[in-house]
Amino acid sequence: MIKLLFFARLREALQTGSETLDFSPELDSVAAIIELLQARGGIWGELFADDQSVLVAVNQEMCDSETSVKEGDEVAFFPPVTGG
């Protein structure tokens, strides 16, 4: 199982803060998960389009789409941060 988290503008637009995906060998990278979400179409297709600046963290560390994902990981998607 992979836990997905969405924050801020993404969370609001998707109308969900989290979901779980069953892990499968094809879902072994951030890029693969983004492809799956994008394929849902609609708002998902828009927000995860290649030209959108969505940041990703795997197990609470910033990473990029090359990063590999394994069973049990927590993968978070969010817009550029604006704290401080």
Binding site: L5, F7, A8, R9, R11, A57, Q60, E61, M62, A76, F78, P79, P80, V81, T82, G83, G84
Partner: protein, 151 residues
């Protein structure tokens, strides 16, 4: 000693500074950055702001920034306190306090921590204005500020 705190309640600027500066009589300099909510942003009146964060990752990201500051400079202590939840104009949002024997290192480390926090710690601001709610966009100047520290 270093401490990182995320909280919804207001924080006590004076108590944090007093505790940090008394920790060690070798401390000669304490530099404190306080970020507070402004009532105007990009020309619009802002009545309230709500700060969202990513619990768990926030603490990790801030710890990594504090660790890096301690590697780069000779410091005796750092405090980072960041509020989340609803805020009003003039409310303090974030405090970064850095103690060191000498002022140059305290200034650099303090600015480094807040510059990195602005681009690397998962906080998001949503503003309530008379025209409606809006998420604050990331600022290009914050990216530039972070770039200066790259090496």
């Amino acid at each position: 000693m270093n401490q990182i705190i995320i909280q919804t309640e207001p924080f006590d600027l004076a108590a944090i500074q007093e505790e940090l500066r008394r920790e060690n009589p070798a401390i000669g300099a304490l530099v404190t950055f306080l970020g507070q909510m402004r009532d105007i942003n990009e020309g619009d009146r802002v009545t309230t702001m709500t700060l969202e964060h990513y619990p768990g990752m926030t603490e990790k990201a801030l710890q990594a920034i504090v660790d890096e500051a301690n590697e780069r400079w000779q410091l005796t202590g750092i405090r980072v306190v960041h509020r989340v939840g609803p805020l009003q104009p003039l409310d303090p949002i974030v405090l970064v306090a850095v103690a060191s024997a000498h002022r140059g290192e305290a200034f650099q480390a303090c600015e480094f921590v807040i510059d990195y926090l602005k681009t690397r710690a998962p906080f998001w601001k949503k503003e309530q204005t008379p025209e409606g709610d809006r998420w604050v966009d990331a600022r290009h100047t914050d990216d530039q500020a972070e770039q200066r520290w790259r090496r």
